[in-house]
Symmetry: C2
Subunit: 386 residues, 2 copies
């Protein structure tokens, strides 16, 4: 808990709620009659409404990307490293918007909110949403906020996939697309990890086919396994070696099933704390959105064709030790953009933190990201005084 | 089911049981008063008893390394690719011995066998065994079989760790050590995967703290997750891409939680069939044996010092796409052996099958392995006629 908020933090922030009553037709064929989107904003919107940035969150993210909700918060928002005064996404220059995606569990309509038609929690009845559905709901939020064109849409991991979708679906509504540690689709191995997670969640006896809210329980065992496994794929082998190696918690082997190695202790802690802050049905929906994302599929697998119509300038970044979405996958995006003579800047950043690197203030990463964002700022059209 | 057994198979084989009544003091401090070891042999033992080969199995292996138990068997033993007439481990030349390790679930004393003291299944009371304990029990089996010195001790993965232990603990009892797709210890990432598996098994409501036998159930959800996760680490990302890619089982997305991608179907099948053939308590013990194995630890982390006393000649092999025990880990073993001026032949085999490659008859691998085994055969001391 910070007694005094750090000077480079946006400081205290307050989530807002936008309620939508225009039905949203989803990829799965179902329709959401009405829904809420929770969002936060940081920094001032200029009078031309041209300095707005949309942040898209990853699997376990939410609308709280930066700052603190109260002086009692132990931690700031999930991307505090990159968003704030003087940071790459500089809140002295930009008006930053971050929302909790549909299907999320942090305020926006999702499995843990009430289905207005039944008066009960949606639970497993909440429709499966796709990255395309998210982009559409985000575009509606932009309409609501009076933002015709984003200075940039930015996201890491699953967030980066949303950025790609934005560039494809709304080519005129963003000037820059910032795609960090992402991929144009999941590999079989990525899908396989998701499937293990789904099995763990759905086979938990407290899952009750997704109706656990009514039973007053949560599938904590499954959530714990999901998060432990997630952490293994977020960290690199080298990062885990550097962080934990084979260090024993009590300095000796105890020949039992309690924690022996430090890495076990870390994973158990991560798993347990996740149980308190995340929803299993949302986790399931997020893994499905990941699995399904594949903009090239509609073009016979040709990503260049999928990206042929984009107009945004791109910044693509990857991290050398990321084995979840390796640099190879980012280079596929870069190549497809170059095929179509798009403007793209690519940074492959030396980092041993694995996929998690995108959330970490690695100096070289922050420098490159910050430089690009200066370009984004320079590209804001001059305000015309009438 | 083969109507006629393949000509290059050892054919029908019969497991045997060796009962031991001399207590075995284990690393964990406990003692096994008596125990059984189930083993199989293939090929004739020569009169000098000098052409014997010990095969050490990996995590889910057993004594049935080659051949068929009956004409009705759908599959041969787990290393049929390498063991048989004319194969690298040529049963026309060698007398091959393979046993189910202590703590296993395929006949040798383990959690699913009866504790002679209580008359009930051992279950979670079966002591935690180490790779060193296994080598000692295997040495006792060698004594029983009248084999003073193995022509070679051979193993892949966890089996390769046992080979290292043999070379360290019984330097005069093996002429050759064949260590395939192994590592001198687990990395933090390896331990982390094991810990996820343990959590999955132990949090299964049917686990009953390991006493599931008495409840007439098995922790099938946990076993399924364990095996699915195992398979992800046994295959390489590339192998999964080549085998499954993003292929959909029904050619289209169904927006549900049934199988959609082929890779999900494969993993679920692997997981389900494993439930029928493996024991959860044994799986737990195996992961612990893996975690604990670290011969360098007793020498301040110096593997060269740990291997200083070995007398066997070594063949070490790794596979380029193995990310569970990568070539880097095998090279650590090779380097430590070279530090001590040991004789070592190292093959880094180009293969995109991942860790599983060690079980697959990849032509180049079989060639190199076979060539080395000719050397092992040539090194058998001439039989002295008195």
């Amino acid at each position: 808990m910070p007694d005094i908020l750090p000077a480079d933090s946006i400081g205290l922030v307050t989530p807002q709620v936008a309620h939508f009553e225009q039905p949203l037709r989803l990829d799965c064929g179902r329709e959401l009659g009405e829904y809420d989107l929770v969002y936060e904003t940081y920094g001032e919107l200029n009078s031309a409404r041209s300095n707005a940035i949309l942040i898209c969150h990853a699997l376990s993210g939410d609308a709280h990307a930066a700052g603190y909700h109260s002086m009692k918060d132990k931690k700031p928002g999930w991307w505090e490293s990159a968003i704030g005064p003087g940071k790459p996404i500089d809140t002295n220059r930009f008006h930053v918007v971050c929302l909790n995606n549909l299907g999320g569990c942090k305020g926006s309509s999702g499995p843990n909110t009430v289905n207005p038609q039944s008066g009960k929690p949606w639970g497993p009845e909440f429709p499966i949403v796709t990255v395309r559905d998210w982009a559409e709901s985000q575009a509606r939020l932009a309409d609501r906020l009076g933002i015709d064109q984003w200075a940039a849409v930015i996201g890491g991991s699953l967030g980066g996939m949303q950025v790609l979708q934005w560039a494809i679906d709304y080519p005129k509504r963003l000037r820059h697309a910032v795609v960090i540690a992402a991929a144009p689709n999941l590999t079989a191995q990525n899908i396989a990890f998701n499937e293990v997670v789904r099995q763990a969640l759905r086979s938990d006896p407290d899952f009750h086919n997704g109706h656990y809210y009514e039973h007053g329980v949560v599938p904590s065992g499954g959530l714990k396994i999901a998060r432990m496994l997630g952490h293994i794929t977020y960290l690199s082998d080298d990062a885990m070696r550097a962080k934990f190696g084979r260090e024993l918690r009590e300095g000796k082997i105890n020949f039992g099933f309690d924690v022996e190695f430090q890495v076990e202790s870390y994973l158990r802690y991560q798993g347990e704390s996740f149980v308190e802050r995340f929803d299993a049905n949302t986790y399931l929906l997020m893994t499905k959105a990941l699995d399904y994302f594949d903009p090239a599929a509609a073009h016979g697998g040709n990503l260049s064709a999928a990206l042929a119509g984009v107009e945004a300038k791109f910044f693509v970044a990857s991290f050398t030790s990321d084995w979840r979405f390796s640099p190879t996958r980012s280079r596929e995006i870069v190549k497809a953009l170059l095929d179509g003579d798009k403007t793209v800047c690519y940074a492959e950043i030396e980092a041993d933190h694995g996929h998690d690197a995108f959330l970490i203030p690695i100096p070289h990463y922050m420098d490159v990201f910050g430089s690009y964002m200066k370009q984004v700022y320079a590209d804001i059209p001059p305000e015309v005084t009438v």
